[in-house]
């Protein structure tokens, strides 16, 4: 297992999660925050952490690489990231988070103790991240997974309802697939309900009441604020945003240059291709015109030939008729004899 990444990239966000636990909420929150922040902070390193991380492998983690928090010093953890987002209720992680240096910005996500809320630069309490699964899972893969589960006899072929907790040793994607294929879901788990809302599956509490969630736009706004805080922190720390801006401007210029050259190249190639093509078209048109003339001439000649053939046939017929006359037939021996006599 590689060590803690220190690759700087643009900046780095450490996301402290409970993704080493099997519940849907543990898996879902980590993934959503990681992908949503990455979309807002392209080029940044987003590392997932959990109390035991990869030291506690589980089927449910779906192969995510999660760094362990245990046995790591707060200073070491703070040094690897520009900002830390805490979205776990694990006591060990929460205690560690409160011991991070006060200058290191921390964002508390969800219900966390007051001690952490007090030192957090931002606290985000709602709505459930399960409503924002678009960047985490490709909807089109869910029917494929449903088909796989059915093929392996791990899911009913016909319609079904989910009324109990799903088994623990299911990967995140399978859980979503099972929920997506259900007619209805009954649960007390708010994360399951949020995922069902995203999937468009009817989901209620055991007492029949429906779940209510704040608009997803609120969560997006909170994530925007987290991203802004990250950029601010980076600027304050290294003051490197201005440099970055100039680097990006330079890159933008180079990209425009390359794009311009590419367009120019395409134009040149098009012209190079069009030249012989134009010549070929001209030659083709000439050939077509010539062929038309020849065809017309040919038709005329054919007609003339037909006329001559008809005339010939007529003349031959006349000749044959003449030869068939009694005068010609009967005088033939006489004419032959005359011919011989003349030598």
């Amino acid at each position: 297992m590689p060590g803690l990444s220190t690759h700087s990239g643009v900046g780095a966000v450490a996301i402290w999660t409970s993704a080493d636990q099997p519940d849907l909420g543990d898996q879902l929150t980590a993934r959503v925050i990681q992908q949503e922040l990455l979309a807002r902070l392209p080029g940044w390193r987003m590392s997932l952490f959990a109390t035991d991380g990869w030291r506690r492998p589980a089927v449910a983690d779906g192969g995510l690489v999660i760094e362990p928090l245990r046995d790591r010093a707060p200073a070491e953890l703070a040094a690897t990231a520009t900002m830390t987002v805490v979205c776990t209720t694990d006591p060990y992680a929460l205690d560690l988070a409160t011991r991070l240096d006060v200058t290191h910005p921390v964002v508390a996500f969800g219900e966390v103790p007051t001690e952490l809320t007090n030192r957090a630069a931002l606290t985000v309490t709602g709505p459930n991240p399960g409503l924002l699964l678009d960047r985490v899972i490709d909807r089109e893969t869910l029917p494929v997974r449903v088909a796989q589960l059915r093929q392996l006899s791990e899911m009913p072929v016909r319609g079904y309802d989910v009324t109990a907790e799903l088994p623990e040793n299911l990967v995140f994607e399978d859980r979503l697939a099972i929920l997506s294929g259900a007619r209805s879901v009954v649960t007390e788990d708010e994360h399951v309900a949020a995922a069902c809302a995203w999937l468009g599956v009817d989901c209620r509490r055991p007492d029949g009441s429906a779940f209510e969630f704040a608009p997803v736009a609120d969560l997006k706004a909170e994530l925007d604020r987290i991203a802004e805080l990250a950029e601010h922190t980076l600027a304050e720390r290294g003051g490197d945003l201005t440099t970055r801006m100039s680097v990006l401007t330079e890159e933008n210029h180079a990209l425009r240059q390359a794009h311009w050259q590419l367009r120019r190249r395409m134009l040149e190639e098009r012209q190079r291709l069009a030249e012989p093509l134009g010549q070929a078209w001209r030659e083709r048109d000439d050939a077509v015109a010539e062929a038309t003339v020849k065809r017309t001439e040919n038709e005329a000649l054919t007609r003339h030939n037909e006329e001559l053939a008809a005339r010939l046939a007529h003349v031959e017929q006349e000749l044959a008729n003449w030869r068939n006359t009694k005068l010609v037939r009967w005088t033939r021996p006489l004419r032959d004899a005359y011919g011989k006599a003349r030598g």
Binding site: M1, P2, G43, W54, R55, R56, P57, A58, V59, D61, G62, G63, L64, V65, I137, D138, T141, V144, R145, A147, Q148, R150, Q151, L152, S153, E154, N169, L170, V171, F172, E173, D174, V247, L248, E250, E251, A254, L255, Q257, A258, H259, Q261, L262, R264, R265, E269, R272
Partner: protein
């Protein structure tokens, strides 16, 4: 204890002995902690039962009916709890050191989902170094061309390491396929559709025995059925490709298919596979190749070495960095016809390569942007000889040589769409003879150490330059002049002064210089320690063109040098020039003496040279220059 990172997945259908043999080899040659899951796809011969009862150290799962490889793989992955998966066919034979390169590759390339070793036939020949997928939906193993690390269209799941998260993200093996064939091809396209890449790493090699578990008639039928499914599922993807059927009649399509994922394809042509430790401009060639390589790891960078010199030894290091190295080609034009229409850019170094290779090769690549990289203006060397020679016949010969080379260089610059020179002076000449070409200056990157030793930590003088084992090279002339005309008068004033001659392949005349006051060191793996321990670098060179890389290295090592106006060309020496450049041996003696006796001046010169190096010859400056070359070739520059 560190938990396992990888789970090996085998799907069996009969072939108990093969499975056992495969697992034995796996256990023997896989030192890292791992898990093994064997899924038996309802073998009719009792293999599943036997494995379940007898296999230790592996999880055995049994399917109630033969659902095939894809379903078996999906079932196994659902039980896996590791970061990585490795699909293995039972007829794969692994050997020592097979896994480490694959894991190392994935650790350094987060954008790569899957990596495959090269599959070998039992006789050791290459069976498959990745495969190509044709527009007709059929695949063909890449068992042609040089081997190097590269992205592939498809790599067989006979032996494939995949990130579990990526496998799950794309939905695993599609259940639409029959028992076997094409489910792994489909997986590769799904991975790519989700932004992942698949690579082949030739540092890892395994033997694939190819014992199919279905009869050939059954196999053909399955292939036909799954081919239909595959073409139905990926019509748009296939529409962009040439067909695989008929590849042998149209060999250029092989290369098109092999390289179709690359964002650009560049061909670089030079004398030999670059050996930066031997001078002769190879260090710069390597830097240019690196710039093309680093601009995009997925790009196809092909290096065409005209001479096979030391290619066997040097090429593997380039191949490991994803550079295809070609050498030993007898008919360059025919070689290019085989790859007709493949390259986006063709770069030629040096005029003789333009004449013999660049121009004939470019004929079959009419679409390519043509780049002439001058490295130096070669006609200037015979011109300099013409100027110094006193023999009439010799002068005539130099004049003829200069004429021929000048014409070749004019032709090369005129032929090029984009040209690269190493100094503004040479670029000025190029712009004059070829006003249509876009001429850039990109010299050579030399990184300045954070701390270089000062006057007190240094002693003696050094000469640095390669000799090519041949007489009458510019460096041989220079070192002979140094030993004969500069060193003796200098030693009169500095009796303990010693000279070290550092450089690959010293000629007999250079070797003969070895004496108590002159040490012929020859080639060293890294000249830097010698340059950082000497007090002065002296090279009275009369002949040469372009920027002399030896002086850039010298500047980067904080080592002042004394040379001629020819040696100082293009170095941006500014005010330091009057202390470093001399035209005659007498001037050189004076300049050397001054620098050897004046620590204050020496230190000022050192600081000045370090500043010049940082400004004009830094890696950042070179990257910037090469970025401009790339963008002029319509290639996107590397991300900042």
């Amino acid at each position: 204890m560190t938990p396992p990172r990888i789970t090996f997945v085998l799907v069996s259908y009969g072939g108990r002995d093969l499975v056992v043999r495969c697992l034995e080899l796996l256990a023997k040659h896989t030192p890292v902690p791992h898990r093994v899951i064997v899924v038996d796809s309802a073998s009719p011969d009792g293999t599943g039962e036997w494995l379940a009862e007898n296999l230790t150290g592996a999880t055995v799962l049994r399917m109630h009916e033969n659902l095939g490889f894809g379903a078996g793989g999906n079932l196994a992955v659902r039980q896996a709890d590791t970061e990585l998966l490795c699909f293995l066919n039972a007829d794969i034979e692994v050997a020592d050191g097979w896994l480490e390169p694959l894991l190392a590759f994935l650790d350094t390339r987060p954008e790569v989902a899957a990596v495959s070793p090269v599959l070998l036939n039992p006789d050791g020949t290459v069976q498959e170094a990745g495969s190509v997928i044709g527009g007709d939906g059929w695949c063909r193993a890449v068992d042609f061309g040089p081997e190097f690390v590269r992205e592939v269209d498809y790599a067989s799941a006979a032996c494939l390491v995949v990130r579990r998260s990526a496998f799950l993200e794309v939905g695993g093996f599609s259940p639409e396929y029959e028992i076997a064939y094409f489910e792994d091809v489909d997986l590769m396209l799904s991975l790519r559709a989700h932004g992942w890449q698949t690579w082949v790493e030739p540092a890892s090699r395994v033997v694939h025995q190819r014992h199919g578990s279905s009869s050939s008639a059954r196999a053909t039928e399955l292939m036909r059925l799954n081919h239909e499914t595959f073409t139905r599922r990926w019509p748009d993807e296939l529409a962009r490709r040439s067909p695989v059927v008929g590849l042998d009649e149209h060999p250029h399509r092989k290369w098109w298919l092999r390289d179709q994922l690359a964002p650009y394809r560049v061909l670089l042509i030079d004398d030999r596979v670059p050996q930066p430790d031997r001078g002769r401009g190879d260090g710069r060639t390597m830097a240019v190749v690196n710039a093309w390589r680093e601009a995009d790891p997925r790009a196809r960078v092909t290096f065409f070495a005209v001479s096979p010199e030391r290619a066997e030894q040097v090429a593997p290091a380039l191949a490991a960095r994803g550079i295809e190295v070609v050498w030993g080609v007898e008919d360059a034009a025919h070689w290019s016809v085989e790859r007709a229409g493949l390259y986006d850019v063709v770069v030629v170094f040096r005029p003789h390569n333009f004449v013999g290779y660049g121009e004939p090769i470019a004929r079959a690549q009419p679409q390519a942007v043509k780049v002439y990289d001058a490295e130096a203006l070669f006609h200037r060397r015979p011109e300099q000889h013409f100027g110094t020679s006193t023999d009439v016949l010799e002068r005539r010969s130099w004049a003829v040589q200069a004429d021929v080379l000048r014409q070749q260089e004019v032709d090369a610059f005129t032929w090029a769409d984009v040209a690269v020179c190493v100094s503004e002076e040479e670029a000025h000449w190029a712009r004059r003879v070829a006003p249509e070409a876009r001429v850039h200056v990109a010299c050579y990157p030399a990184a300045v150490s954070a701390e270089v030793p000062g006057w007190a930590a240094r002693q003696d003088i050094v000469f640095f330059g390669g000799f090519d084992s041949t007489p009458r090279t510019p460096n041989e002339f220079a070192v002979l002049e140094l030993a004969e005309s500069v060193l003796p008068p200098l030693r009169e004033r500095h009796p303990d002064l010693r000279l070290r001659v550092v450089g690959a392949d010293p000629s007999p005349a250079v070797l003969a210089l070895d004496s108590p006051s002159i040490e012929v060191v020859g080639k060293v793996p890294d000249p830097r320690p010698l340059l950082e321990s000497a007090l002065l670098h002296v090279v009275p060179m009369r002949y040469g063109a372009g920027v002399k890389i030896k002086f850039v290295d010298s500047m980067a090592a904080g080592l002042p040098f004394v040379t001629t106006p020819v040696g100082g060309e293009g170095l941006h020496l500014g005010w330091t020039a009057r202390h470093l450049i001399g035209a005659s041996p007498a001037e050189h003696v004076e300049l050397c003496h001054k620098l050897l006796t004046d620590p204050v001046l020496w230190t000022e010169i050192q600081q000045g040279l370090l500043e010049i190096c940082g400004t004009h010859f830094s890696p950042a400056e070179f990257r910037r220059s090469m970025r401009d070359v790339l963008t002029d070739c319509a290639v996107l520059p590397p991300a900042p």
